[in-house]
Symmetry: C2
Subunit: 119 residues, 2 copies
Amino acid sequence: MAKSEQVICDCEVIHQDIVNQVSDRMPEEGELYDLADFFKVFADSTRVKIMWALDESEMCVCDLAVLLNMTKSAISHQLRTLRQSKLVKYRKEGKVVYYSLKDDHIKEIFEKGMEHIRE
Amino acid sequence: MAKSEQVICDCEVIHQDIVNQVSDRMPEEGELYDLADFFKVFADSTRVKIMWALDESEMCVCDLAVLLNMTKSAISHQLRTLRQSKLVKYRKEGKVVYYSLKDDHIKEIFEKGMEHIRE
DNA sequence: TTTATAGTTGAACAATCATTCAACTGTTTG
DNA sequence: CAAACAGTTGAATGATTGTTCAACTATAAA
């Protein structure tokens, strides 16, 4: 048996039919992994605040630092994460870098989350 | 100045009007913190797989362990997280515990996430 | 009552990650 | 050119967290 096929699970199969049926309908491993990675970006309150703020208005790094009462460095690190996830875009104007949201789905995702936690 | 009011930010305010305006419209600190906590649950591929599976069908712990090729213990730990976040419910039938989704928004949240990563 | 199995739980370990700090780049202004 | 400031970056640190392991509970069957 190949290493990748080793069975790690420590129990007998109880409902083989259900397992097979669900297995067939599941998206592929990599896609679900990417989905979890996507939600990792939403799983930090600083990034949530930044995205919420940018949904209200385009802002520069200093503005965000003042708004959230954090250092420019901390903000910049998180903006890097948001850039890599293609959730924000930016434009430079002299020394100042203005960030804004790149994706329309963000607010919708926030709304769905809010619906759950407000129940 | 009280400790909680200390200014940590290391820069001058560039656009005070924008900062004020956005600050007024931002939800309160705690609510955004809860929102990030909610997305933390979606930020792990094992939990994403479990939720996706339970959206297809009610399943017991053993079925999930076989489906995802993991130990019952690992699955059980993650189900605990999902229970605490009120995302799954369960019913006991003898020795077997059947889990199912509790929230209707889950699939919608997955869809929005998929829309982003498929672009 | 003994055995077997489904499931849970707490501690330990390894990996991940947010923030801090210091050093750096690049642009503007005097 | 030199000083000042917006922003970025890499390393270090502390905190969080997913999985493993072993021990445990509870139910069912022999």
